[in-house]
Every structure is written in structure tokens, then in C-alpha cells.
Symmetry: C2
């Protein structure tokens, strides 16, 4: 198909398609004349992924380029996740106490040897944030977080599409970025539901 | 104790204590002279809470004032949570489809009649975000999120301190704001762990 047909098929304006071509986010078509090229279904699929990444995914052009490079040379699953997570995670804080995270999670039976250090660091930063705020988790709560995170991951990994690297990466990146607000809102709602069950209208303080 | 002793006991500079008094975040002491007042343990506790809210909690002066007002006239547990959540939640989006959220969660056995509409709206916005991004959750994944959120809430509500409204609100607000980055990081780590277990080093795409 021509570039105008590619644009029509994906709803992406021609000027934007050209911009993605220049930025290396979309592979060149088959050149049929100095100013003309033909595109195929691989371009349609790639364009859809690029739009999802830059739009709802909220990643930058440079981050999208890194993710697309990972697709073109598909890494092992764990590296696919790491690449996707890396593109949307702050770089590892040197002060992050990753050893503490490894110790806690290995107590849960998690094998973290091959995990991305930046994500281990993000967990360490989360724990440090609690300490900085003078906030102690009640006994057993951290273990409950670990169990819940694993239950979530189990359901999510079961759902990873395996028909193509595009589909898998799209699922992982969007599933991380788009789902986070939903998960946090569900937690707040569940807190209100459970509090209502536990204390009724009287409140935890009796009153 | 005098204001200087209150400052020393809490590590909050005298000028800041005076600022909180002016802003109504801290109740007046017992006046012993036109320029002198005496403070007690209730001021120490309140100052610690104010610092936690404004610092790690990341709430504004106005939000802190709303939370403190809720403490001074302690509402029922569910309203305590709602007040705390409200102070840190975006206002309800009029377009949010709260009915869909009520339908889904009542399928899980959640009773949401008394829940804060803004939090129901945040869940609705989360679901809408998935649709806008063209992202479909694999079958059963949303149910897994609901189960995980409930497990988390159950452990957290068990841990709510009941000795004072200050302690309860501090726990709820800081527990919401400070714990969120930790939960999200744990989910990402769990995804990598489960992916490693499921696919090993070969990746979900075989090869």
C-alpha cells in the first residue's frame, strides 16, 4: 500500500507517519521510485504499537526507540519485561538498598537473580520512603503486599500474547503504564469496603 | 512546655510552629501572658502528624486542614477513609461511569453504597484509560486485581491503630500515599519473577 493508504488504515496522518520514519520508529517501505515506497501489514502493526506507546503508554520518542529495538531483536521474556520496565522506570538510585529487597523477597520464595536492578531499586526506594515518612507497616502487611503482587503477576503473565513480539511488548508496556492507576484506585475502594465491613458506621474508634 | 521546648521536642523550628499556628494546623496553647503560652503532649502529637502530612504525605496546607478538621470531629471509619482519600484524590470526573464500577465490584461481593464517589470515579477512570489505550485485559485479570486489592485492604485495615484519631488518620493517609510506589514496584518485580519461572530464559515467544 502507499503511504496515504497506510495513513488511512491506521488513522495516523501522513505527516506523522513521515515523522516516525525519520525518527526511526517505523521501518522504511519498499522503494518503488525516488519519492515513492510501498508499505505492508508489518507497517500497520508497528504504527499501532508506536501510537499506543507514545499515547496512552506515555513513553518518550527515545524510550519508544529502545522498546522497538528490543522487539526487533527479541530478548528472553525476562529481558523483554526488563526492557519495557526500564523504558518507564527511573534509573537506579545508587543509595537503594537492593540487598534488603533480595532478602525480603527470597523469604517469599522469589528468585530475583535475573531481575532488573532498577526494579529491585524501585522496591528499595519504596521501603525507604516509608522509613523517611516515619511510617511503620503493621505486622504481616508487607507479606500481604508480596502475595498480592505475585497473584497479580501470575494472572498477567498468563495473559501475555505469544503470537508476536509486537503483541507481547505492547501488552507488557501498556499493561504496566495503563493498569497502575486502576490498581491504586481499586486498593482505595477496597479499603473503604473492608473498613465498612469491619467497623460499620461507628468507626475504628468506637465513638 | 514553652514554644521553644515544643520545637526541641519535635525538631520543628519555632518559626515553623508559629506558621502552623497562624494557618490553623496547630491548636493554640494555654495563654499565660500576652506573648507566652504553654503547650502539652497534644501539641507534640499534632505537630508530628502535620509534618508527616506535609512532608512524606505530600498534601497541601489546605488538604492538611481538611484532614485535621476530620480528626477533631472524628467521623465514622468509612468517612475517615473518605476524608483522607478525598484530600489526595482528584475530584470526580463527571464522565466517569460509576455504575459500571458498582456492577463489577458487586459481582465480587463488594458493598460500595457508602463508598466515596470520587474513589469509585477513580476506578472508572482507570477502566476508561485501558479502553482509550486500546488495551484489553486478558480474561480473569480484572478479577485477579479485585482479589488482590481486597487482600491488601484486609491486611491494612487490620493494622489501623485505634488508640487515637490522630494515629488512625496518620496511618490511613501515609499508608495510602507512601505505600503506592512500593506496591507498584513490587508488582513489576513480581512480573519479572513469574515471567522467569514461566518462560525461563527462552522468552514467551519460544525461540
Amino acid at each position: 500500500m502507499r503511504i496515504s493508504q497506510l495513513a488511512a488504515a491506521t488513522g495516523v496522518p501522513v505527516a506523522t507517519v513521515k515523522y516516525y520514519l525519520r525518527e526511526g520508529l517505523l521501518h522504511e517501505g519498499e522503494r518503488t521510485a525516488p519519492t515513492q515506497a510501498l508499505y505492508d501489514d508489518s507497517h500497520v502493526a508497528r504504527l499501532r504499537l508506536v501510537r499506543a506507546l507514545l499515547g496512552a503508554g506515555g513513553v518518550s520518542i527515545a524510550q519508544a526507540r529502545a522498546i522497538l529495538a528490543a522487539i526487533d531483536e527479541p530478548p528472553a521474556a525476562i529481558h523483554l519485561l526488563a526492557t519495557a520496565h526500564n523504558a518507564i522506570t527511573a534509573p537506579l538510585d545508587a543509595a537503594a538498598d537492593v540487598d534488603e529487597v533480595r532478602a525480603i523477597t527470597s523469604g517469599w520464595g522469589w528468585r530475583t537473580e535475573s531481575c532488573d536492578p532498577a526494579v529491585l531499586g524501585a522496591v528499595a526506594a519504596g521501603l525507604q520512603g516509608l522509613r523517611d515518612g516515619g511510617f511503620d507497616l503493621a505486622p504481616g502487611v508487607l507479606d500481604a503486599y508480596g502475595r498480592a503482587a505475585r497473584d497479580i503477576a501470575q494472572a498477567e503473565i498468563d495473559g501475555i500474547p505469544t503470537e508476536s513480539a509486537e503483541a507481547a511488548v505492547r501488552y507488557v508496556v501498556l499493561g504496566t503504564v495503563l493498569v497502575e492507576p486502576l490498581l491504586l484506585a481499586l486498593r482505595r475502594l477496597a479499603e473503604q469496603v473492608v473498613s465498612g465491613e469491619r467497623f460499620g458506621e461507628t468507626g475504628p474508634l468506637g465513638d
